[in-house]
């Protein structure tokens, strides 16, 4: 229980980051995760349940939880909130119809006290599709500028092409890393 062993634990904990990937169904959460992990993305079916992936990024170990986005499942999201350092919210930029849904779910999520202090990365996904909304439009639609409880950033990307995924990940890891840990 000496300082040296306390430090060893603290340092180890600080190297591990827990990320939660959420968003409406068919937003591309699993695809993003598989793309990041270098897996085949041709045969992805709706996530019935959840996935856990452990990735290495800039010296940090990321434990990424990807939970299905179907309406019936959303109420179970909260089972995964504990000790979350960052939330990655994935948006289907081409799904203009459900932007309102998306905004509502996001708002509800940010009310959750166990996510207080977590960094929020928004992936405006599917930019490769025609008719995809640009990030600044999504920012307006989702009223992101009203979010003052979390650090957030929005990044347009495409899981299929892999474009800009890394930028987003860099930001979220950097943002988490740049704060001093105090919440266990």
């Amino acid at each position: 229980m000496g300082l040296l062993s306390i430090l060893r634990n603290i340092r180890q904990k600080e190297k591990e980051i827990r990320l939660l990937v959420l968003g409406l169904d068919n937003a591309g959460k699993t695809t993003i995760l598989k793309r990041l992990n270098g897996e085949d993305i041709n045969t992805i079916s709706p996530t019935l349940g959840f996935n856990i992936k452990t990735l290495e990024h800039n010296g940090f170990t990321l434990h990424v939880y990807d939970v299905g986005g179907q309406k019936s499942i959303r109420s179970y999201w909260r089972n995964y909130f504990e000790q979350t350092d960052g939330v990655i919210w994935v948006i289907d930029s081409a799904d203009r119809m459900r932007m309102e849904d998306c905004k509502r779910e996001l708002k509800a999520l940010l009310q959750e006290e166990r996510l207080a202090g977590a960094s929020l990365l928004l992936f405006a996904n599917k930019q490769d599709l025609p008719g995809a909304l640009a990030d600044k439009h999504i920012r307006e639609k989702l009223e992101l500028d009203s979010i003052v409880t979390h650090h957030w950033a929005i990044q347009a990307c495409s899981a299929v092409t892999g474009e800009n995924l890394l930028r987003g990940m860099d930001w979220v890891v950097e943002d988490i890393a740049s704060r001093i840990y105090s919440i266990e």
């Binding site: 349940g49 452990t54 740049s178 105090s182």
Partner: protein, 1220 residues
């Protein structure tokens, strides 16, 4: 001696490093993955076979042993975890599904699903995989491992029912049960209504459903287990019951049940199981869901009031403190501290430069401003007060784990409190600090405080500080306590306690670095930095020094306001402060160069270290002051010495000791700084006089009382330092000094004697000694007149004779050498013999020779030189043994060391003076080499090493002109080939040494000595020594040529040399017993039998053995018996003579000898006589084997006498027997 002592200490400190093996990656990965498939594939292999089972068990152990070393750095396994875990889990799934356990369960339809009958029996193969999985979870933590398990809806029922079907009492299956419980805890995280998954669920029923009923029931059952399953069940329960759908229906019931159990159950396992589950539930669950249950659970906290039997159970107490914390966290809403982002970066690298990295997201798309959420006037529930009370009390608990848990709890709870309430906690902590302190002369006295409390409070302060909850306004209050805690050290009897408090105080300082901005800490920087430096360098404990250095580093890295921070962290890092001697003597000087730290460091040494309870600390402290004097002499003269002088006569023994040492060391350093400039003596006369008077002012009782040796030793090293400083003293004081030194010299303690000699050497060197003093000290005539009663006391004086400078009083030389020679010899009266005295005599020879050096011949006559050399040769023959073993080896070693010094010295002097006949004759040189060679193959490895090193040194010594070898010796080529110059020879390794050295026997010049050495080693006691020396010797002998060609070494010469040894060492068992052993081996291997009888007289050998057989030493008699038996194979005449000897040994007065002889004789006769079936032979065998040789001798004699005719011998004429 001092040096050895320090080296020992260094080793001690280094152990700490070596026990933590650190690697940079999982080194055995490929090995692991080459073994793993064997276990995986074994599942499909249906041929059951015990051999395979053993092999697979071995592989399992191998796999575990590959990962087990990573317990300390488990994250190194991370890159491989997926490949380790996944294939095993895949197998588990197939295996489990193949059982179809739920059908089994449903068909049986038994309510009691825990009944013992009809259980699934797992094969050993699958159990092994579960065991391996358990080890992975143990080493890396189940949370990390379980992430790689599958968690599909379809996994739930099969896995659960499989667990149900396992025999819960099977003691070889607990790993499987634990792994399954953990696995289930993951599966049940699936985001679906679990009721829809349950095949037994009935839509019409209420919200409860059978699967969950069963799972909770099973978990409760395992919660009471005595093994690991208990933890697994707690994890599973917490996962199940914190699901929203399950919590609604089941949570309240469970809490109710748990509370009831906690109240009434007396089983310690059940209690810990339940408490573990509660802690986990209140950690995982959602606050709003849990809040209503808190009221039900609350009584659990008073468990110890109802169940006093657990009051002494550490784990239960820890769990209760933890539970209190979790309750508290449930009552309070989490808050986020905005400062988390403001205060620096987690990576020190960024603060120390390199901050080039920028994010690549368009900055416009980023929002990194947080609005501080204003405290909505949430009411703080009244229970919080009680919880904080529990936690504050936990800080004072006698168990570290409880205090630690309480400290963490306080930190977490305070984080959610409004500022003023959090500040109340800080206030309470200060109260705990001041508990049991009192003011004494305006100084805060800590001697009555509890170290537990201080440790706990420090941890709590650190936890609060780390979270930014210790507001800057409070800092000036807390820093003084922290400074005290950093040096917390309470004397308890002969030792002290408090290392854990100091360590925790370092944690506080470390946390400061994380919580505050530089400007907040600025007013306290000097105090903190100085305290941390002092603790990093001068703490007694390695972990505290390292902790302090880590805290210092954190402050430098994050705040950058510590003066010279970067220089200091590169000097005093984790590794350099690990070694205490290094930290005290080297690192301290490098840091004290900086003005900001210098005086604080010196002050710590003078006020604290010199009074430390540990003598080694005081010694090191004094040495450190010596080194620091160089940096600030004025401070030493004006502040430190005046402070220390009164302490030298302190009533506290430790302080007195420390002060005397420190004053001595500082003064010595002072004089060294001044060198030849003597003006300081006048300049500081009053101070110098005060210092000179110290010894005089020590009360006489200190030198006679119990425990006086500490003071005497301190006084003597004080004197030694002053004498080395050539301190100006009056003859009266000098007389006093000599008296003190002499006092220590007469004490038995050898370390003390060496210290006294050190002092005396300095005194004689700087102040000289008069002849009448030498005579007045009982230096010379001590042994002649008073050896009897002085005994142990003389050995110090023997050393004292060595340090006299005879070039100053040459007239004393011969007298002194004579008395040294006298004391170097074995005394006829055994009780006068003292090996240390003899050893010291040779040590003195060495010192005298070294001191005379170049002028040796000027002051020492050849006859004195001859006498000394002669004595050294006698010393080389010292093989005295007492209870401590071969104590003669000390003397042999000292003699060799002397020869190693005097021979090169004399050889050089002889060369300088070519006209004169050399004092070191060729014959003498040859003898020296012979003796050294003999010692270099002897049985004690230290002696071999000593002899070997001197031998090589002499062999390769060059004369002063550089061209020629210093010693002109015979057989140089052979010696050089055996001992090549550039090769390191491992003298301690018999395996390497003997085959190398056996070639020496080819040199007739050294043959006798070398063979003697070999024989002694071959008959030694250490198994490896005997094996290598005797096998080398036998092999060598068996390969010797039998025919004599001039210039070669033959077998008969070998045998003749053995005979020569026999004669030389007649009746000296030390040599003779090993020699007999060797003879036995030579006869047994039929090596001696090959010798041409004309070139060697076996009769002479026989006579020698016969002589030795007249002994009462059983081991020797045993050897003789075996040699006689061996000799029966030589020739007819010797056979008969040997048999006569053996037959007489058959009636020896010792029964054991009779038995041994009968056995040996039987073995020899049955092996050698060809006609085995003859009538006589059968009779002989019958007599030898069927006689009870323990019977009385007269009775045995009659039986024995039957043997003579049977062996074809005449019955000898017996003299009238005197044996009864």
């Amino acid at each position: 001696m001092q040096m050895e002592y320090e080296i020992l200490e260094k080793n001690e400190d280094f152990e700490d490093d070596t026990c933590v093996k650190s690697s940079s990656h999982f080194e055995q990965a490929s090995e692991f993955f080459s073994y793993l498939p064997i276990l995986l594939n074994s599942i499909d292999d249906n041929t059951d076979n015990g051999e395979k089972d053993v092999e697979q068990e071995r592989i399992l152990r191998k796999l575990i042993s590959l990962i087990d070393p990573y317990q300390e750095q488990p994250y190194l396994l991370d890159p491989h975890l997926e490949n380790m875990v996944k294939p095993i889990v895949d197998l588990f799934r197939i295996y489990i599904k193949s059982f179809n356990a739920q059908d089994l369960f449903f068909s049986r339809n038994s309510k009691d699903n825990l009944a013992k009958d009809n259980k699934i029996q797992m094969s050993n193969k699958i159990k092994r995989l579960f065991t391996l999985m358990y080890y992975l979870m143990k080493i890396r933590g189940y949370k990390t491992i379980v992430k790689f398990f599958s968690h599909e809806v379809s996994d739930l029922e099969p896995t659960y029912y499989f667990l149900v079907a396992l025999d819960s009492q099977d003691y070889t299956g607990w790993e499987a049960r634990y792994v399954l419980l953990i696995w289930l805890s993951l599966i049940c995280m699936i985001p679906f209504d679990l009721k829809t998954v349950d095949s037994l669920a009935d839509d019409t029923e209420g919200k409860k459903f059978p699967l969950m009923d069963h799972m909770i029931q099973l978990s409760k059952y395992y919660l009471k287990a005595t093994g690991k399953e208990r933890d697994g069940a707690a994890v599973l329960l917490s996962r199940l019951l914190t699901r929203r759908d399950i919590a609604e229906v089941y949570l309240a019931d469970y809490i109710q049940w748990a509370q009831g159990e906690v109240k009434d159950n007396k089983d310690v396992f059940t209690i810990t199981g339940i408490l573990t589950s509660l802690c986990a539930i209140y950690k995982l669950g959602q606050r709003q869901t849990l809040l209503p249950t808190l009221e039900i659970a609350w009584p659990c906290l008073s468990l110890l009031e109802d169940n006093k039997i657990f009051a002494n159970n550490t784990l239960v107490r820890k769990m209760l403190v933890k539970l209190a914390q979790r309750f508290g966290l449930c009552y309070l809403k989490p808050k986020v501290a905005a400062w988390r982002y403001k205060r620096g970066n987690r990576s020190l690298k960024d603060n120390l430069g390199d901050n080039s990295k920028t994010t690549s997201i368009d900055p416009l798309n980023i929002n990194q401003s947080l609005r501080e959420v204003v405290d909505d006037d949430d009411e703080i529930p009244h229970q919080i007060e009680e919880i904080i009370e529990i936690l504050l009390n936990g800080l004072r608990n006698k168990d570290t784990v409880v205090r630690w848990s309480a400290a963490k709890g306080l930190g977490r709870i305070a984080q959610r409190l409004p500022q003023e309430l959090a500040d109340d906690i800080i206030g309470s902590l200060f109260e705990l600090f001041s508990e049991n302190t009192y003011k004494h002369n305006d100084v805060l006295e800590l001697s009555a405080v509890s170290d537990h409390t201080w440790h706990g409070v420090c941890l709590a302060v650190a936890e609060l500080a780390r979270r930014g909850l210790l507001l800057p306004e409070r800092l000036s209050e807390v820093i003084p306590w922290v400074s005290k805690a950093l040096k917390f050290d309470l004397k308890r009897g002969t030792h002290s306690i408090g290392a854990h408090v100091r360590d925790a105080a370092c944690y506080v300082c470390w946390s400061f670095a994380r919580a505050y901005e530089p400007k907040v800490l600025a007013p306290h920087v000097a105090e903190l930095a100085n305290s941390l430096v002092v603790v990093s360098v001068f703490d007694r404990e390695v972990n505290v020094r390292r902790a302090s250095s880590a805290a210092f580093q954190e402050n430098v890295g994050r705040l950058g306001v510590f003066p010279h921070g970067i220089d200091i962290i590169t000097t005093a890092d984790y590794f350099t402060v690990g070694n205490r001697v290094n930290a005290f003597l080297e690192i301290s000087v490098k840091i004290a160069i900086f003005e900001e730290y210098k005086h604080h460091m010196i002050d710590h040494l003078r006020t604290i270290t010199i009074s430390n309870w540990d003598k080694r600390m005081r010694e090191l402290g004094a040495k450190a002051l010596h080194n620091l004097t160089r940096l600030d002499l004025d401070y030493m003269i004006n502040i430190v010495l005046p402070y220390l002088i009164p302490l030298a006569t302190s009533p506290d023994m430790d302080t007195r000791h420390g002060a005397l040492l420190a004053i001595g060391e500082i003064c010595l350093s002072w004089s060294l700084i001044k060198g030849n400039d003597k003006s300081w003596i006048e300049e500081h006369e009053p101070l110098i006089t005060r210092i000179s008077d110290i010894i005089e002012s020590l009360p006489d009782t200190l030198f006679t009382d119990f425990g006086s040796e500490v003071t005497v030793k301190a006084a003597v090293s004080h004197i030694a330092c002053l004498a080395k400083a050539n301190w100006p003293v009056t003859s009266e004081i000098m007389g006093n000094w000599k008296w003190v030194v002499r006092d220590l010299l007469t004490r038995k303690d050898e370390i003390g004697q060496e210290m006294a000699i050190d002092a005396l050497d300095a005194i004689i060197f700087h102040y000289g000694i008069e002849k009448k003093e030498i005579l007045k000290y009982p230096f010379i005539l001590f042994h002649i007149a008073s050896l009897l009663y002085l005994s142990k006391k003389i050995l110090g004086f023997v050393l004292a004779l060595g340090v006299i400078r005879y070039d100053k009083i040459p007239e004393c030389l011969e007298l002194c050498v004579d008395s040294l020679i006298l004391s170097s010899k074995l005394q006829e009266t055994k009780m006068w013999n003292d090996p240390e005295t003899r050893r010291n005599a040779f040590t003195s020879f060495t010192v005298i020779s070294k001191n005379l050096g170049e002028s040796f011949k000027t002051f020492c006559s050849k006859s004195i030189f001859d006498k000394m050399i002669e004595a050294a040769f006698i010393g080389l023959e010292d093989y005295s043994v007492d209870l401590r073993g071969d104590i003669g080896s000390w003397i042999r070693k000292a003699s060799m060391m002397y020869l190693g010094v005097i021979c090169p010295l004399m050889a050089r002097l002889d060369q300088k003076d070519p006209k004169c006949k050399p004092w070191l004759s060729d014959e003498l040189i040859k003898k020296v080499f012979g003796e050294l060679l003999k010692q270099s193959v002897e049985r004690i490895d230290k002696i071999r090493t000593c002899a070997g090193n001197i031998l090589t040194e002499l062999l390769y010594a060059k004369s002063d002109d550089g061209g020629n070898w210093l010693f002109d010796i015979t057989g140089r080529e052979v010696l050089q080939s055996i001992l090549p110059k550039d090769e390191e020879i491992h003298w301690i390794s018999p395996l390497e040494l003997y085959p190398r050295m056996i070639k020496l026997l080819a040199l007739p010049e050294y043959r006798l000595e070398a063979l003697t050495g070999f024989v002694i080693a071959a008959g030694g006691l250490t198994e490896s020594l005997i094996r290598h020396s005797s096998s080398t010797l036998l092999e060598y002998a068996s390969e010797l040529p039998n025919t004599s060609t001039p210039g070669t070494f033959t077998l008969s010469e070998f045998a003749n040399t053995l005979l020569e040894i026999f004669r030389k060492y007649e009746r000296q068992d030390r040599v003779v017993i090993p020699l007999l052993e060797v003879l036995d081996l030579l006869l047994e291997t039929e090596t001696l039998q090959k010798i041409d009888p004309n070139s060697f007289s076996f009769e002479d050998l026989f006579e020698c053995v016969k002589k030795e057989a007249r002994t009462r030493e059983i081991r020797k008699l045993d050897c003789c018996t075996r040699v006689f038996c061996g000799m029966t194979t030589l020739n007819e005449k010797l056979r008969n003579r040997s048999l006569y000897q053996l037959l007489s040994l058959l009636v020896h007065s010792f029964p054991k000898v009779r038995r041994l002889t009968a056995d040996q004789l039987y073995l020899t006769l049955t092996a050698s006589i060809e006609d085995e079936e003859s009538e006589e032979m059968l009779q002989i065998e019958d007599i030898l084997t069927n006689t009870d040789w323990n019977n009385p001798v007269p009775q045995l004699k009659e039986i024995r006498n039957q043997l003579y005719p049977l062996l074809g011998l005449n019955l000898p004429v017996f003299r009238s027997s005197t044996t009864s």
